[in-house]
């Protein structure tokens, strides 16, 4: 799964309106335009629906069956019992907990770190700005699996250098086995995720920073507001939309974390995430029914998170889209 997810356009509130057709022959023109619109956008829409809507419908259908891939003859309809099994299983809730933990920790740290990076880039000398921009993009562009291997090898007790470099820290020594228990494993996983995706957040926030009107900043400065006051009263409120959009997308992305877990721990020490659990039921255990139920629940969780963000926190995607 990609951790470098889609960037939503962060609202250019004043985006130019589409060129309006002249008001003559409105019905004919509108009809023609409607037809052309669907003709042009239709293929892309059809492809998107085909590669996602059909499989998720199939997954939902499969989740109603007791179905093992190697034993297709004994496939039988069991209704919602797969869901009952999943939802009453402590492992499912543990995975949800781990996933939420990773999500909350990484997104929180990324937001703070990304904001700092954005501030630096926003204010940095013109001369070093292109350099910073290029450098910051590199983690974003690196393949997640490669990043996971790099961090794993760095912390590995045999191949890594972390133990010898940080031996002066209490609790770290030549014998520290980072992947030996839950806490340290999750720590390394989060570190890898944060390294890789903070640049993405910082770029979105940088775009948000650019939207804060200079006039307001200057006015506040004239009024004698401290840096922190200006930040809290002027900068952050004015880039709320950008922050929320960045949060929404990173949260959804973090919730689907798979690659890093697969590479670094393979689920050892209770580090299974929901995506990993789904993978193990369907691909390793070959229990298509049970695995599909986990998949559908994962899908519903993602929808729920998106819904909470959009309705609860009032993330204005239409503004983000620029067509308000």
């Amino acid at each position: 799964m990609s951790t470098s997810t889609t960037a939503p356009p962060t609202g250019r509130t004043g985006a130019s309106a589409p060129a309006q057709a002249p008001k003559k022959h409105i019905s004919d023109r509108a009809k023609a335009e409607r037809k052309l619109g669907w003709l042009l956008a239709g293929p892309a829409l059809a492809v998107m629906l085909l590669v996602t809507a059909y499989p998720i419908a199939q997954a939902f259908y499969d989740s109603l069956f007791d179905y093992r891939l190697t034993d297709p003859e004994n496939r039988s309809f069991t209704g919602l019992s797969n869901y009952l099994v999943v939802l009453t299983d402590q492992l499912w809730w543990q995975s949800v907990g781990v996933t939420l933990l990773i999500t909350v920790v990484t997104v929180a740290v990324e937001l703070v770190l990304g904001f700092g990076l954005a501030l630096v880039m926003n204010k940095a000398l013109k001369a070093i700005r292109p350099f910073l921009r290029a450098v910051i993009l590199i983690p974003y562009a690196v393949i997640t699996v490669v990043s996971a291997f790099a961090w794993q090898f760095a912390f590995d007790i045999n191949t890594g250098f972390i133990n010898s470099w940080f031996a002066w820290l209490p609790g770290v020594g030549a014998d520290t086995d980072w992947f030996g228990d839950f806490g340290t494993s999750i720590f390394v996983v989060c570190l890898a995720e944060i390294w890789k995706t903070t640049p993405f957040i910082s770029l979105l926030l940088l775009a948000g920073l650019a939207q804060v009107p200079e006039v307001l900043q200057e006015a506040a400065q004239v009024d004698g507001a401290t840096w922190w006051q200006r930040m809290r009263r002027v900068t952050i409120p004015n880039m709320k939309a950008a922050i929320m959009v960045a949060l929404l997308f990173r949260t959804l992305d973090a919730f689907r974390v798979f690659d890093s877990i697969f590479v670094m721990t393979a689920g050892a020490n209770g580090t299974e995430t929901v995506s990993f659990l789904a993978y193990r039921q369907t691909i390793s255990r070959l229990e298509i029914g049970l695995g599909s139920a986990v998949s559908v629940l994962l899908f519903l969780s993602v929808v729920l998170i998106a819904f909470v963000f959009i309705k609860g926190f009032k993330v204005d995607l239409s503004q983000a889209r620029g067509d308000s």
Partner: protein
Amino acid sequence: MPDSVVHTGRGRRSAASGRRARRALGATAAAVVLASGLAACGSGDSGVPQLDWYINPDSGGQAEIAARCTEAANGAYTISVSTLPRDSPSQREQLVRRLAANDSSIDIMSLDPPYIPEFAQAGFFAPMPAEVADEVTTDVVQSAIDGSTWDGELVTVPFWANTQLLWYRTSVAEAAGLDMTQPVTWDQLTQAAQDQQVRLGVQGIRSESLTVWLNALIESAGGSVIAENSTNPDDIQLGLDSEAGMRAAEVMRDISASGTGGPALSTANEDTTATDFEGDVGGFQVNYPFVYPRALGAVEAGTLDQSVVDDYGWALYPRVDADTETAPPYGGINLGVGAFSEHPDLAYDATRCITSTENQAYYFTSNGNPASDTAVYEDPEVLEAFPMAPTILESLELAVPRPQTPYYSEVSGGIQREYHPTAAIDPEQTPQDATELIQAVLRKDQLL
């Protein structure tokens, strides 16, 4: 996208064929594939049937054997190899998914023995001709025959057979006062490693390696992971909670608690264990024979002193109890012939060639993978490359396969979840928890 179609065809061919075959096929392959659509498999362009052999990654030995057998076939068939993932569970995932789709491109497959029952039960193997069965079991170690058998029938062709030995530093064993000509127990080794402040290398990582270790311990204690076998998952009776099972859990816990397994026991695999054994803390380890060529390679590269390798000693896998014979792990690779292959007869022919004494000897000496054919162990070249070959043979005769069940991955997955990390094992509780988990998983009442 005609481009992609062409490339698809080429990719399959080039990954799959030997150098000679590639030259011959190269130019026409794309055209052939284009003409026959995406599912171009089976026969080559010259009418000579092409057998696809799915191999586990190795140091090139299987590809070489494929080339040799292609030559030996004298135009009857050609063999091309495709590489599977590195770990055996992923190898199984790939093969099962393809076979469940009745994939006819799988002619021969290199299989880790524990998954053989699952494949056999699902009908993924072509029936073995009786004369092939006779031939490929003659002079073959018992554990390899056991590992190739399901439900009383030989379903795969024994290829190479792996087993773990107890490796020790002669100097350390002497200092500890251990008589290595006599069988030693785990308790003795733990004690000796503690006294000498060296490692007793075992594989505690959450993977197949852990199941290998637990299974060997339970079998050595006189029990079995599966006490009562059945093809019906509900009727499988587990032996984890037995006296032998508890004894095995005790050994695991004691070694973990003693610290002799090293600080990274919970992520220790065969390779890290071998690294430790080559280092200053090396004392004892249970491991496969690859550790020997590995050390020789390090000497050649100048990173290991010859004196270290000269200090290497080997013996049979440790016993759990002094008076009960040990039951070392059995592993390796057996060859299955795909049920949907278009040329099962030729494929079985090819397996006979692949597993010939000569090829097994070649594979042993070049790739370090021990033969299942007992005749190989008389080959002077083998004996020179592996002075411990007689011990390997002896170990293979005693070795016991991991639980044979079509639900192996559930059983092994459940074991790994409950017995990892080994430091947290409670001999009273863990076997019982694992039994309950595995039974619930087999009933599909729980996730894994």
